[in-house]
Amino acid sequence: MKSFKKVAILLVLALVASFSVQAQVKYPTKPIQVVVPANPGGDTDLNCRIMAKYLEKELGQPVIIVNVGGAGGSLATRKVKDSAPDGYTAVFFHPSMFLNKLMGLVDYNFDAFENAGIAVMDNTNIFVVNASSPYNDLNDYINAAKAKPGKVKFATETGGFTHLQILAFQDLTDTKLNVVDVGTASQKIVALLGKQVDAIGISYGIIKDYVASGKFRVIGVMSDSRNPMIPAIQTFKEQGVNMSFPKFFYYLFPRGTSQEIVGKFSDAIAKVAANPAAQAELNKFMVSAEYMSPSVATKYMLEQEAIFFKYQNLMMNAKIEKEEVKK
């Protein structure tokens, strides 16, 4: 009977303890899925995988990458939007999500989610030409475009970030290029190597070896000031084109996920961003871990959204304009 009493007391204590523990949510207790709206091999997937490696250590649970490419990333964002808000599904994306809404592909933006903060900054959005081309800098390219309107080619992915960039560029420099869709980063590389297009818009990290081996030439980077990791590249602003487009990567959770859980995940991001090893790995690809807390990130992203939406009309009318010019 004595042992029975002991067990009974222990049980009661355990029950009481479990009730009080529930007040503070234990997270995470199982693997977390991070959905990447792109296929493997690109910069989004790579950045996410590097982050995941270190997040696992901070969170103590596996962080599993799930690639859901296609439909401009809208398949992935929609999937996460409709997932259970239990903190075990998140999406890792960048400005292209804004563009999905801009183009009317989806009717929501990041504010339909809980923002866990910005993790990675990519200030290496560049225009690249084949080294054998006559364009040494942005102005060469602009002059060529003015000399032959609608003939000089630029490769992008319709509805993607670089598409917005080229529309802004045309607007600011009053030029008309032949904007062609070639698809993903890999396809852009192939198109430029094969000299099928004159220039592409891409992130530096993916093509750094091509610059180093002399096959590609970078004619400008779209950041406010020169990027210390690629100091030889002139900015667009320096060359008279006033545009700056940082590519920021953030994590979103479904609407309704508890603030406590989002906060814990966000803290983990902050710790990873402060981790020199993580920073070094990301720096290899010319991006950097830069943490912005949920509130700061949301403010920043709203500002960016406003900038993007300035170009909405341009985006929607782009093709129609081109047709009329042809006629």
């Binding site: 493997p40 296609g70 183009m103 592909l105 003939k151 319709t158 062609v180 094969g194 750094k208 290899k284």
Partner: protein
């Protein structure tokens, strides 16, 4: 180069590395042989496991998975008429009939040997002429892709054989199904009826699972169980690899042609083993003096399919290693893996990390040999495993197909796609339509349309591009030739039989 090779082999001939190769091939064969699970999935699942490993060992595992997986599909294709992976679709068409005659050993043996040879030839190409091959791949712009797709679409005519009209219809249906989803270029959803899950279109894997696995299950459900048929399948005698030396030499031309097709399709980014096996099979059939034997269980069909799908391995590695551009879905995963290990494939990889590259070559060579040995000894094991009665085996396979379909994009929707295509496949078979052309339609439709529209964009709407680009012109002529050939062949058939297809 020889010293680099020596260094490469040295890095791979360590215990850890060899173990990984063997493990990779083994796991690859298992994933490859189970319908629903694919090589891409095997690589994707094992990628996180490689994070702690040094790059050379990680690559050994991945190469083993790649080779084992691509070849493993032939096992289920031959023994249960369901392709283990999209790379072995065409193997079913002659592999299974051969097995039903009691000659499963011959089919399996041939499949294994020619998988080995196909891989070997493509490795040779990769090691010795990768840079020129990469240059060739760069010559393929949108117009060339359009022309190539058009040419491959004419293979529908060859596959359909006597049932030309029905075959064309099924091919067109495949094209139509491929339209569903985001349109190329402008990315607006087409034919999705507002169902957002359809925005991404129908993935080829669930479609394949549905067309083959589900319809097979429905067929088995429909027909009566025949103990005799089952025994014929699994009790086969086998000596050596199951086929004679004379037969082997007879397949040489077929093998080389199929390997070239496999390598060629492999080096083009975006298409790989899934396409090459069907194209090689069709080309073999169209060039054969007796095309009617295809589909009845002829060796040529198996050789064509299995040589080319494995040849696409080396082919797909060419753009990956030289340009940093993946040649197919598996290499896309491998690209991610390489980058995570701090290696950027591309022009500098050979210079900066030459030992890794040659380590990869060495892994491929060794993994190929391991695959041959493992599968040779495994043939009898496979047969025993598959002598498990169909009523137990097929449901288990279906549940694995569900895993594969769901695991693709983490949505139940893909399982529904499997069901849809299962119904389509079943109905088509019941109405006596051939199902094989549908796959060509689904794979090649987007390639043709995207190529055409992008080509138009690049050339500002001028049709001149079709006549001025040599590679495209070559394929257009080939297309026209195939159309004429098929039409003439069909007319001849009709004359012979006096009835309409």
């Amino acid at each position: 180069m020889l010293d680099l090779f020596a260094a490469g082999f040295a890095s791979v001939l360590t215990l850890g590395s060899l173990f990984m190769i063997v493990l990779g091939v083994f796991v690859g064969i298992i994933f490859g042989s189970i319908p629903g699970l694919t090589t891409t999935m095997a690589v994707a699942l094992c990628l996180p496991l490689t994070f702690g490993m040094p790059p050379a060992i990680a690559m050994s595992l991945l190469m083993g998975l790649y080779i084992g997986g691509t070849s493993g599909g032939l096992i289920s294709a031959i023994l249960i008429n369901i392709p283990g992976t999209p790379a072995s679709v065409a193997t079913c068409w002659d592999g299974h009939p051969m097995a039903s005659r009691g000659e499963a050993g011959k089919a399996l043996g041939a499949g294994v040997v020619f998988s080995f040879l196909g891989t070997l030839l493509s490795i040779v190409a990769l090691v010795f002429i990768a840079p020129p091959l990469a240059e060739l791949a760069l010559l393929f712009g949108p117009v060339e892709y359009f022309a190539l797709a058009l040419f491959a679409l004419t293979m529908i005519g060859t596959l359909a054989g006597k049932q030309l009209t029905k075959g064309i219809i099924v091919g067109l249906l495949g094209l139509i199904l491929a339209f569903v989803g985001m349109a190329p270029i402008d990315a607006y959803p087409r034919f999705t009826f507002g169902i957002h899950d359809l925005d991404g279109g129908f993935d080829i894997l669930p479609a394949l699972i549905g067309l083959f696995a589900v319809s097979e299950i429905l067929n088995v459900a429909e027909s009566e169980f025949s103990l005799k048929k089952e025994n014929v399948l699994t009790n086969f005698k086998m000596k050596g690899f199951g086929f004679s030396l004379k037969e082997f030499w007879g397949q040489m031309y077929n093998m080389i042609r199929s390997a070239l097709i496999g390598i060629g399709i492999g080096i083009l980014p975006g298409i790989g083993a899934g396409t090459s096996n069907i194209v090689a099979y069709s080309v073999a059939k169209s060039q054969d003096k007796h095309p009617e034997k295809y589909g009845t269980g002829c060796l040529d069909g198996i050789v064509a399919s299995e040589t080319s799908n494995n040849a696409s391995i080396g082919g797909a590695m060419v753009p990956l290693l030289t340009l940093g551009v993946p040649g197919d879905t598996v290499t896309a995963m491998i690209l991610g893996g390489l980058m995570i290990h701090g290696l950027t494939p591309g022009p500098l990889l050979f210079i900066a990390n030459g030992e890794v590259v040659y380590g990869i070559f060495a892994s491929l060579i060794i993994a190929n040999i391991v695959m041959l040995v493992m599968e040779f000894f495994g043939i009898r094991v496979f047969a025993k495993l598959l002598s498990v009665p169909k009523h137990l085996l097929l449901p288990v396979i279906f549940s694995l197909c569900v895993v594969g379909a769901y695991g693709l994009n983490n949505r139940v929707f893909d399982v529904w796609v499997v069901m849809l295509f299962g119904v389509i496949g079943y109905v088509l078979t019941k109405l006596k339509f051939p199902t094989s052309p549908m796959i060509l339609g689904i794979i090649l439709g987007p390639m043709a349309e995207t190529g055409f529209r992008r080509g138009m964009q690049m050339n500002e709407g001028s049709f001149l591009m079709f006549f001025t680009r040599p590679i495209a012109v070559f394929f257009f002529l080939a297309t026209a030739f195939m159309i004429v050939l098929t039409a003439v062949g069909n007319a001849k058939n009709r004359k012979k039989e006096g009835t309409k297809a």
